[in-house]
Each structure stands twice: as C-alpha cells, then as structure tokens.
Amino acid sequence: MTYQLICGAEIHVELKTKSKMFCGCKNDPFHAAKPNIYTCPVCLGMPGALPVPNKQAIEDCILIGLALGCKIAKVSKFDRKHYFYPDLPKGYQISQYDEPFCFEGLVKTSFGPVRITRVHMEEDTAKMHHETVDGKKVSLIDFNRSSVPLVEIVTEPDIKSPEQAKEFLKKVRDIIRTLGVADCDMEKGGMRLEANISLSRDLSAQAGGNLPNYKVEVKNINSFRFFANALTTEFARHSEILDRGEVPVQETRGYRSDTSTTVSQRVKEDAADYRYFPDPDIPPIVISNAWLTKIKSRLPELPTSKIEYLIALGVVESTAKIIVANQVMMEYLDQVKTLDPKMVSQAAKDLVNKKVDYQKLSPEEYLKTKSVSKITDKSILRPIIEKILSDNPIAVADYKAGKQNAFGFFVGAVIKATSGQADPKTVHNILTASLSI
C-alpha cells in the first residue's frame, strides 16, 4: 500500500522588539545574566496587574503576514486561552482565537504552494527546566521570557515531503530575517517548530482533498533538518501501523534527535478545552487603510523577487541564490548593472567563482579589466586584413559582384584572427578602403 504524507507546520517566532508584548520589561531572555531579572507585575501575573499591547509587535506581526501573502483583518482582538501550567503565570495566555491579524496567505515552493492559514500574535510563556534539588525532582521557572511577543504561523496541511518542508521553512525564515523583525535563531529558541502529520491512502490527497481521521503532533524539533527527519520517521511509523489495518493514535510526540525517532508524550484529545473568550482588558485593534499603508511601506524587497530580478538579467538561478544571500555581493552587482547591464551575468559568475576580489576591486575597476582595450593600430591590422582578403579570393569576387554580406564575413574573420581584440570601427574602415580598390 502506498501512502501520501500530509503535513502542516506550526511555527512560533520570537519578535526582537525592545520590550515585551504587554508590559515594558526588557525583551532579551536569552542573554539575561540571571533568571527572573526582566519581570514586572504584569508578566509575573501579579494580583491587579493589567496588559497593554505593544504597538511595534502588532505591526511586526502584520508585516510578517503581508510578506507571507496574507490578507489583513480590518478588526482584530486578543482572546484568553486557558490552561494550567507553572510556566503560564495568569493561568491563561493572551493570544488570538477567531479574529487573527493575518489569514489566508501563500508561500510558493518548488514542490508547490503551501497555504498559510493564519498569522497571529500571542505572548510567550516562562522557561522551565528540571533539576534535582535536595534529592527531589523539581521544575525551576524563569519568567524573563514570560510575555515576550510571539508570532504564530500556521499552515494548511500542504507539505507533502521532507524536502518541501525544508525548502518551505528556510524560505519563511529568510523572509522574516529580511524583514528585520526577528532573528529566528533556533538555538536560542527564537524560532520553534511543530509538525502535524498524518498519512492518507489516497495518492491524490492533495491539499483540499479528503483528509484522514487522525493527526499526530510532533514537538521538540530544533532544526529544519530534524523537521525533515521527523517527517521521514513518522512516515515510516504510520505506514507500518496502517499496513496492519490500524490507525495511528492521535497524540503529541516528541522528536528525539539522538535516535531520529519520535516518542509519545501525551494523548491528544480532539481539542483541549481552552475556554477562549475575548480579553476584556484589551480594546479591539482596528487596522485602518492609512495604518496598513504605513506598515506596507516597511516591506523591503524580498529574497524571491530579487532572485527573479537577477535571472531576468541573465544570471543563472543557482548563482542568483548565492548572490541574494550575500548583501555585499548583491550591492556590488547592483553597481555593475548601473555601469554596464550587459556585464551583470559575467560579474555574477566571477563573484561566485571567486574570480574577482570584490573587497579590493571596485565595480568600475573590475569592468575595466574585463573590457580589453581594442586594437586600433592600422599598422597591426592592415597586414591581418590583407592576409584574410588574399586567403579568400572567391569571397572578395562575390563582394565586388554585389554580395553585401561578404563584408560581414571579413569583419568576423578579422575579429577571430585577433581573438576579439580588433577594434570593429577601425577594421570596418580598413576593409572598406581595401575592398574599394
């Protein structure tokens, strides 16, 4: 029995705003010298504290949505998502439920498009780790990260292979980095990945087709490579279960990088009862056309369009990708284009193949070395031209009889004989004179 992988991704991105999502605490949990030094009554969930949303974070979230091709809501709000866990100080997370800032987007990949269901804003939880203290197993909690702005990106189950997953994730990361709103450093927890995986018997189960009745959530994925591995290992695991005529258990599993497998964490009910309701402490956010235009003006040229632009100038795609990823090379090439657009493709090749030291040579200087100085000295050219004419008497006779294109033949022959160094104008003059005799 052959199966089709069906996967949706959930990506959490920590924004690099100066302050947290609902209070003025410093947003720098990874570099904090000690635990619990960037907290206040709000992000510690103290009695009587109230949230006020960070405008910059909201704009950054909308910017990400725009860059991922999303529609932007006209009216949006924050909702409370309730569950109990020591890393959640209020007993609820301020998130977005049914009116997210961004929805219905699309990211193209070479394997096909991946639709973006939504991009919304929420607050991060505190960080917990486990230790043994006085012989007892305990959890230690650090609230430096509590309430840091988090953007959640959810895709439709359009990812169909590990390769597509990698390409998609890299593309999203590159886009977000270009926007300058987040570092997406997975090692620092700046970008977190979750996969929702299932298999279908139906080979034509593309996005929008019939979905199977189960879903396995995989967490603890710390790199794009591990994401792809998780898909591979889950594909194998589900296939084996389905082959036996059973259905994989609907649950949450953790990825184990040491064994490249997943282990069961807890059984996932259909939907945990988060008891969502609109947060009464935060008035709605209305995104006017004027505000949206202002946010749109922050959209820089995104990597994809830059690559297409270079391809149009004659650069090969693989070369273009390398150039675009390198700010310095890209600027160098931009200058070459301004000076001589015909040289862009050559310059791109030379840059990538390290044939030009762009740190030392300016674009102007580079172009000078490429444009060889043409031979205009008649004393050099005349003998060459005379030899070509004497070597080709029939062509000369044709020309004199009225065949004009024989002339082009002679010019070509001279250029060839001089390895392209003869100055075409001088050649033209000498030939004209010689043939008119």
């Binding site: 006020v52 909201i58 305990v138 008891r275 008035p283």
Partner: protein, 100 residues
C-alpha cells in the same frame, strides 16, 4: 446543560480543568448549588437574540497600545520578583517536577 442536568461527573471534570481540589462533600454541595443557579440563568434562552450583535467592550475604545520602550520604573529586581514565593532556588521559582 441548557436542557440536561449538571452531573457530578461534569463538576469533577471542570474542577480538574480549573485546578480546584474538591472534597466529596464540597462536590455534592456544588452540584446542587450550580443546578439551582442555572435554572434561573436558563430563562435567558427565551429571549430572541438571533439578529443581535455581541458587545464585549462597553468602552467603545480602540487601538489602545503602548510604544515599544523599556520601562525600568516598573521592572522588579530578582529579589523582589521572588519575594512572595514560598519556594525558590538559585533565583528560580520552584515547583515539584511536572511529570510529562
């Protein structure tokens, strides 16, 4: 619940969701009290609100946000943050291990 009775099981499930430890005595009392209250509340179902919009904010305010600046004046020192906690360790809040 609109037409059914609220059961002991319902109350136990909810108590778990909201982390309220219930003794049997409390549980039974709660079921009775909640049932009585809901009889009163359910009278609302008779009011037609099919074409009515919801109002979750009476203020009429919109777009109340803060600028992205670090505000030292409200930030607490580590000692202050931990001051009211019963269990701490090396600058962290401490709880018995959460079993996954």
């Amino acid at each position: 619940m609109t037409n059914n009775q609220i059961t002991n099981q319902d109350v136990q499930h909810l108590a778990k969701l909201v982390s309220l430890p219930l003794t049997d005595d409390r549980l039974n009392k709660l079921v009775d009290q909640i049932t009585t209250t809901f009889e009163y509340i359910n009278t609302l179902q008779a009011i037609d609100t099919d074409s009515t919009q919801e109002t979750n904010q009476v203020t009429g305010l919109e777009n109340i946000m803060r600028e992205d600046v670090v505000e030292e004046s409200r930030m607490l020192s580590q000692n202050q943050a931990l001051q009211n906690a019963k269990h701490t360790h090396n600058g962290y809040f401490l709880v018995p291990a959460i079993l996954e």
